[in-house]
């Protein structure tokens, strides 16, 4: 039997199976939302597909009872790990009142759920990075033992807010982890027209912080480096910048058509790196899964997604008159 890497990392068999299940759940929610979109029932979808390993590996390395996350729009894996429910995610795609992120006010992918310490996000990219730094500053000022995790895409690291926030975190040695999911595309713009540095992790040098590049298709590798960053943060050793190399399997969003700027071959090529297949293979190698068990998990999750869809689809839209609520405290 192959080397049980997860055990060396302190993860139990149940842990890694839970990670796998979370990845599959993220994928299947996402696939369902595309179906609903193509059926004309859901106005918009933006996907996690291809990035589940990075997301779930990172989230499991955090303390999901105390840490805060400021995720970006692809992070279905992160918010599931932090307690958001399948039906809540699907409801947000419909814009239903039960959507905990925004009560149907925001597009799907604009996460936020205070009880699960998921910080509310917006569309303009990278604005969440200073917010996460602000949470980390609060932790320091109040002497609290938690870490704040924020994520963004490779293209988004070129926003001024990324720079200003990371410099601030570096100066004050704050307990914050900035996690870049580098899929080498920003909508249609490829990495070399986007980012001037040879990689993203090297940008850590500009902020006097540690930088790591990690294989984002391997949840255990991601887990390891995020875990390390968390320990450093809790020990007062400051912030970390982590680059997870990953892939985007779908078009940018339901409004995009990637065949205009991506070749068939490229799309075929990246499919080989589907993180769910890769992690499934690992779990098979270490004897935790086989084809039958995989099918059982798939079936169970399909059922879960069916139920979630039904709940979300039946749920009411927000009442028109609620438009006027909560502009200010009331």
């Amino acid at each position: 039997m192959a080397n049980k890497r997860h055990v060396a990392l302190g993860l139990t068999d149940d842990d890694v199976l839970e990670m796998y299940r979370t990845m599959v759940l993220a994928r299947k929610i996402d696939e369902r939302m595309w179906l609903l979109n193509r059926a004309g029932k859901m106005p918009f979808v933006i996907s996690c597909q291809g990035q589940e390993a990075a997301q779930v590996g990172a989230a499991f390395a955090l303390d999901r009872n105390v840490d805060y996350v400021a995720p970006y729009y692809r992070d279905v894996g992160v918010v599931l790990a932090f307690g958001m429910k399948a039906e809540e995610l699907i409801a947000s795609g419909f814009g239903k009142a039960m959507d905990p992120n925004s009560g149907g006010r925001q597009m799907p992918g604009h996460f936020g759920q205070k009880k699960n310490r998921i910080i509310t996000g917006s569309s303009p990219v990278a604005t969440q990075v200073p917010h996460a730094v602000g949470f980390a500053l609060a932790a320091k000022l109040e002497g609290k033992q938690f870490v704040t995790f924020t994520s963004l895409g490779d293209g988004s690291t070129n926003q001024g807010d990324f720079h200003e926030a990371l410099n601030f975190a570096g100066v004050h040695k704050l307990p914050v982890i900035t996690f870049v999911e580098n899929n080498r595309l920003a909508i249609s713009v490829p990495y070399d027209k986007q980012v001037a540095s040879e990689n993203i992790a090297i940008r850590a040098k500009a902020y006097g912080m540690k930088g790591y590049k990690v294989d984002g298709q391997d949840p255990l590798a991601v887990y390891e480096v995020v875990k390390l960053a968390r320990e450093r943060a809790i020990n007062g050793e400051g912030p970390t910048l982590i680059e997870a190399e990953t892939i985007r399997l779908t078009s940018h969003s339901s409004d995009d058509n990637q065949s205009v700027y991506r070749s068939e071959e490229e799309l075929e090529e990246i499919k080989k790196n589907d993180p769910i297949i890769l992690f499934g293979n690992y779990l098979k190698e270490v004897g935790l899964l086989d084809e039958e068990k995989i099918k059982a998990i798939d079936d169970e999750i399909n059922r879960q997604v069916n139920e979630a869809t039904e709940i979300a689809e039946k749920a009411p839209y927000p009442k028109p008159e609620t438009l006027y609520d909560y502009v200010y405290e009331q």
């Binding site: 918009f44 925004s102 006010r105 990219v125 070129n158 205009v260 609620t322 438009l323 006027y324 502009v327």
Partner: protein, 327 residues
């Protein structure tokens, strides 16, 4: 003459200006191979190459700031902001820089940049892909803000913007892109920036609006016409600086003025229009100035129920016109 959609009119204005003048170039996110998220730059990358149709990094302040530099050198950049909502990171470069370059250098330098951005809601774009942001810039001397209502206007005004020797913000309504079509001359033409345009002559109620509001008002005006209510429709075309004379004249046509914007109400463009009327045409009024606008909530939500409640449409305009006519 050829029938062009609003977005085709914009695309052809850029194409023709780039053919005419080698100093014109395009810069923005996904404007290249993809041809823009709305396909406004469709085919231009193929025709002019990646040097003149530049896929920029995801940095709005750089898109504008680099364009400002190139413009000062003597180029004529057309900077695309992917959604008007994402112009916020570039506000410093627009307001502190582009708008003030001529003035602060006492006419030594100038900045002929055009900044295009799609605005407006009704496309399930939610809070951050539906906003009208023009009011952010309507107190910025040195800047011009143009919001065309029709394909013909869009083409003539975009060409004027590109040739203008000062910075111009150019906002295009997303719903207009494929919905509005009309005959547009094949020959080169430009329309004057800074001048409003009477889109409909009438005698009972004056409606002053701009952008997509013009189309909606036309629909409403058609509807009330059946009941004998005649609408005078002034399209501001340039929302900053405003064409005061045209506003005063349109007010005096009917004495009853309805101002319409898709933006939320307080602090919107039509507030300044009302102020001009209160200042210069008070005694022309037979009724209080009426304003129809979005509600004062942060932005248009995603849920269809809420989006519908927020957005201005032909029914809401029609109702307001009838109310004002009956005053």
């Amino acid at each position: 003459m050829a029938e062009l959609s609003y977005i085709e009119a914009i695309n052809s204005a850029m194409r023709e200006e780039m053919e005419r003048d080698h100093s014109v170039f395009i810069i923005g996110e996904d404007v290249g191979a993809k041809g823009g998220v709305f396909r406004a730059t469709d085919g231009l990358y193929q025709q002019f190459g990646e040097q003149r149709v530049i896929d920029s990094p995801l940095s709005e302040s750089a898109i504008v700031g680099v364009s400002v530099g190139a413009a000062m050198y003597g180029m004529r950049p057309i900077a695309e902001i992917q959604f008007a909502d994402f112009i916020m990171p570039a506000v410093n470069q627009i307001i502190s820089e582009a708008a003030k370059i001529r003035y602060r250098s006492n006419n030594d330098w100038n900045c002929p940049i055009t900044i295009r951005a799609p605005y407006g809601g009704g496309i399930s774009g939610a809070l951050y892909h539906s906003q009208s942001v023009e009011a952010l810039f309507n107190s910025t001397p040195g800047l011009k803000v143009v919001m065309p209502a029709t394909p013909y206007d869009a083409k003539g005004l975009l060409k004027a913007a590109i040739r203008d020797n000062d910075p111009v913000l150019f906002f295009e309504h997303k719903r207009a892109y494929r919905l509005l079509k009309e005959e547009v001359p094949d020959e080169d033409y430009v329309l004057p920036i800074g001048k409003a345009d009477v889109k409909r002559e009438g005698s009972d109620v004056t409606v002053i609006t701009y952008g997509f509001g013009v189309h909606l008002t036309q629909l409403a005006a058609d509807a009330v016409e059946k009941d004998g209510i005649s609408v005078h429709l002034l399209d501001l075309r340039t929302v900053y600086p405003l064409d005061k004379e045209a506003i005063i004249e349109a007010t005096s046509k009917t004495g009853k003025v309805l101002l319409v914007t898709e933006d939320n109400k307080e602090g919107s463009i039509i507030g300044e229009v009302a102020a001009i009327i209160a200042e210069h045409a008070l005694f022309e009024l037979d009724a209080p100035v009426m304003r129809l606008a979005g509600p004062d909530v942060p932005a248009m939500p995603y849920a269809p129920t809420l989006e519908k409640e927020f957005i201005i449409n032909e029914q809401k305009i029609e109702k307001a016109i009838r109310e004002l006519a009956a005053f």
